[in-house]
């Protein structure tokens, strides 16, 4: 896996970037005498992604002077950042003693462990922790994706399964063949995810495709790719799309053959759209009043989309991260279905598992035993994710604060956070702080003293992925051209006393007296997994091809009707007014009609930022100098407040206050402001944040289907002295 470079005496190590953008870009790591001297990209081929700026800066991450290289014990109050270095032995003894004590006094359900989801590697990830904690008698695990729970919910109720988990649900190759591409809330120039989507869009445009951006912001993708920008108010996407459906039905532009053959519930959906159900016709005029998009623009978009066979609705996860974001994804799916633009093979059940599972013991999680499914469970998500014993990831802090009394399955006392920065990255940081302070013990495994780590009782130093072995499965996320798995080769030895996630679990297993936890090295385990995978691959792929063949003959989806459900049997059974059977527009809380808008008249959205992957990379000098963490505000809103470019402003609502510079721009809709999410929370003594951490302002309420609502928040902005 490693080769000698002809000219240098350097070792070139091949691996795949493990950051939480999901990029999975190929790295060529140049190593000289045990030190990384540079990281080179591998140019795009077959739609594989090419490294972004963060990948190119990874060397600064590895050798950052801020790296945690020794276990740390908290000495000051939580959040103060006062820690002292301790030995691994002392750290592990303390953690093991606390885990045993809390288990005995409060039971296993009081132990929370949350790991980031969907990082593109298998071994040093959630399964390692899961195995350990299940062997310890169980724990409370999360359900739900922060990024895309609304999407997963919508696809589950409409198709019985998630499609290939891409931002827009389509492959790069499909874009190349398209003549009309709608980037709905989608900004691939900034949000890379495992394929070189931007290059495909540019190439499609060169071939003559028309590209339209529907977004509250004139994003860099809008700048680079679009022929037209249609600004839209946050939280109103479902309304505007429903009006498109209205035009399509009224003008008889739907694909009736596809509807009749492959969908169920069209008439019921149609009744709602035409206003027969509730007396409100979902006309373009109706949507214009809600979403701020001109009726004529909506009608044109509807016609163009319906009439162009190769049109693609690239609907991103972003608009789904708002109150009732499920409905946006459901309407988008309906729009695709009634125009016959759903590629059915995307939703057909497939067998993709080549047996690439780490050889850990997986006893059942006793905390979940006997627990019925949640009321809003979508069958395709599987029994564990659907267990009512779990806590929605975005409700973590609410669950800690309220516990059983608030309807959560248990009272929580211990929390272990790994591979995440949830104090920073979940809604309402000030509430999160209250919650974290309520816990008896917090363990954080980290590379840096993040906002989250500052609240830990013990912080264990984790090495970067360049300091360990791992393996990445062929996930649906990635380009179809990826091989079955990719090995993440170790480039250098772990820095300082830092350890891999696996080594941490192994060391704790010993202290907790758990037998049967694997004691091999990560390299040995990766080799073992590859061997098993190669054996099972052949039989599995034969099975898979048989299955796929039968699917194309008999297109049955895993929905109650076996068809694409425009009226969902799964949703109907939930019997919840905010999860209607047919996809609907439901006005968000904290909309501009909310009385709160008198005080806080601006809609805040919290998009991604180029120089970070969520909160990752915020501390690297090569990246910090490229973009200023600032709030984007339209020049009209700025003028009305006497704000000029680069003025320091206070952004606030009842949940908190952030002080950052203003980026006065034409590139955002008036009435909307944007703070890029992921800035590191850096409060002063009054709790005012100067790190530009957007979640000081967002809420920790979730949408009924389980979506994080990071794009539903009202704020006000005022100028402060320079």
């Amino acid at each position: 896996m490693t080769e000698k470079h002809p000219d240098y005496k350097d070792k070139i190590v091949h691996t795949v970037c493990n950051s939480h953008c999901g990029g999975t870009c190929d790295f060529k790591v140049h190593v000289r005498e045990g030190k990384i001297i540079r990281i080179e990209s591998v140019p795009e081929e077959n739609g594989r992604p090419s490294m972004c700026l963060r990948g190119h800066a990874y060397r600064q991450r590895v050798y950052s002077p801020d790296r945690l290289l020794h276990p740390q014990k908290r000495t000051g109050p939580r959040g103060s950042g006062e820690f002292t270095r301790i030995s691994w032995d002392e750290a592990l003894d303390t953690i093991a003693d606390e885990m045993k004590r809390i288990k005995t006094v409060y039971g296993n359900a009081s132990l929370l462990h949350f790991c980031s989801m969907c990082d593109p590697h298998l071994l040093h990830h959630v399964l390692a922790f899961h195995s350990l904690l299940c062997s310890f008698g169980g724990y409370t695990a999360p359900w739900g994706y922060i990024s895309c729970e609304a999407y997963a919910f919508a696809k589950g109720v409409t198709f019985g399964k998630s499609s290939k988990l891409r931002y827009s649900g389509h492959t790069p190759e499909e874009y190349l063949e398209s003549r009309l591409i709608i980037m709905w809330g989608w900004n691939p120039a900034t949000t890379e995810m495992g394929s070189n989507m931007s290059l495909s869009l540019a190439r499609a445009r060169e071939k003559g495709a028309r590209i339209i951006a529907v977004d509250p912001r004139h994003t860099d993708s809008a700048a680079a790719f679009s022929d037209e920008w249609i600004p839209i108010k946050p939280g109103t996407d479902a309304a505007v799309m429903l009006a498109m459906v209205y035009v399509i039905i009224k003008e008889n532009l739907q694909d009736q053959h596809f509807i009749d053959r492959y969908t169920a519930g069209f008439d019921k959906f149609k009744d709602y759209v035409l206003g027969l159900e509730d007396g409100v016709a979902k006309t373009p005029q109706w949507a214009e009043a809600i979403g701020g998009v001109q009726a004529a623009t909506i009608a044109d978009l509807a016609r163009d989309y319906a009439c162009e066979k190769s049109a693609i609705l690239g609907s991103s996860f972003g608009p789904g991260r708002s109150a009732f974001g499920e409905e946006y994804h459901r309407v988008a799916a309906a729009l695709e279905a009634i125009t016959g633009k759903v590629k059915r093979e995307q939703y057909a059940p497939t067998v993709k598992d080549f047996g690439l599972l780490p050889p850990f013991p997986f006893p059942p999680n006793k905390v979940e035993e006997g627990a019925p499914p949640r009321w809003n469970a979508v069958p395709s998500r599987g029994p564990s994710v659907n267990s009512s014993a779990r806590v929605n990831v975005s409700s973590l802090t609410d669950a800690i604060l309220k516990g059983k009394a608030g309807g959560y399955p248990a009272d929580y006392k211990f929390m272990w956070l790994s591979n995440n920065n949830y104090l920073n990255q979940l809604g309402n940081i000030n509430k999160a702080i209250e919650a974290f302070n309520k816990l008896e013990f917090i363990l954080v495994t980290e590379q840096f003293m993040t906002a989250t780590a500052r609240f830990a009782d013990i912080v264990l130093p984790v090495c970067t992925f360049l300091e360990r072995w791992d393996i990445m499965p062929a996930m649906d996320v990635f380009s179809t051209k990826r091989s079955d798995f990719t090995i993440l080769n170790k480039a250098i030895e772990p820095l300082g006393e830092s350890k891999s996630q696996l080594e941490i679990c192994q060391a704790l297993a010993l202290k907790l007296g758990i037998a049967g936890y694997p004691d091999q090295t990560d390299e040995e385990l990766v080799r073992q997994m590859v061997a098993i995978a190669s054996e099972t691959k052949k039989s599995k792929s034969e099975e898979a091809s048989k299955k796929e063949a039968s699917i194309s003959q008999e297109p049955q989806l895993r929905t109650p009707s076996g068809k694409i459900e425009l009226s969902s049997g799964i949703a109907e059974k939930m019997n919840h007014p905010q999860i209607p059977a047919v996809p609907k527009y439901i006005e968000t809380w904290e909309s501009l009609n909310d009385p709160l808008a008198d005080k806080y008249p601006l809609q805040l959205i919290t998009p991604h930022f180029k120089r970070r992957a969520h909160s990752q990379f915020d501390n690297l000098p090569w990246l910090r100098e490229l973009q200023v963490q600032a709030i984007s505000i339209n020049s009209r809103d700025a003028e009305a407040r006497g704000i000029q470019a680069d003025d320091m402003v206070r952004v606030f609502n009842d949940r908190g206050e952030v002080r950052i510079p203003a980026r006065v721009t034409e590139r955002i809709m008036p009435g909307v402001v944007a703070v890029p999410q992921g800035g590191w929370y850096s409060p002063d003594e009054n709790g005012i944040d100067y790190g530009g951490s957007a979640n000081v302002l967002t809420s920790n309420v979730i949408s009924p289907g389980g979506s994080f609502v990071s794009n539903t928040a009202l704020v006000q902005i005022e100028k402060v002295g320079k």
Binding site: P6, D7, R38, I39, E40, S41, P43, E44, P49, S50, M51, C52, L53, R54, G55, H56, A57, R59, A189, T190, N196, S198, L199, A202, R205, E206, H218, D220, S221, A222, A223, A224, W229, P231, K610, R611, P621, W622, L623, R624, E625, L626, N634, S635, R636, T665, E666, R667, M669, P670
Partner: protein, 189 residues
Amino acid sequence: MMQYGMYIDQNRCTGCFACVVACKDWHDVPAGPANWISIKTTEKGRYPNLFVAFLPTTCYHCITPACVLACPVEAVTKRAEDGIVTVDQDACLGKTDCGQCLEACSYDAPQFEAGEDAKMQKCDLCIDRWAEGKKPVCVMACPMQALDAGPLDELKEKRGGARETEGFTYDETLAPSILYKPKKNPYNP
């Protein structure tokens, strides 16, 4: 005389900064004011009718390099074999004591780190990589394949290209070695 240069398809550039950081990593340039390549953003128009373009900017290894002519100690030279303009940092007098090259260059290409005795540095079109048969690191790092580099006449033949684009004016006196596929501004065609 052989002249190397660059080609930039401005329509492809998304302002992603991959080239910028790749350059800093490859050439070990610390964070700070010295940037061998930067991204210039042009924003025009009023909401909602906007034109936005990104443009990577570097040293253009001019046919008549003003920096070479301006340097009192011949620290900047133009290589005969490929026309690449390079700097000898040991000879350079530094920005505070001299800075003539920066003054002379219309494109602000000469770069200096912070500090009194900072010596000139700038894009050398990755001479070290050509020696290994590789194109410059920015060219290879660009996920949009917006960039190319090589002998200018070959580039011209292969790709065509204009001398000017949104955010760049051709300086006849210097004759920069650069070709563009320009991005059209619908508001001032």
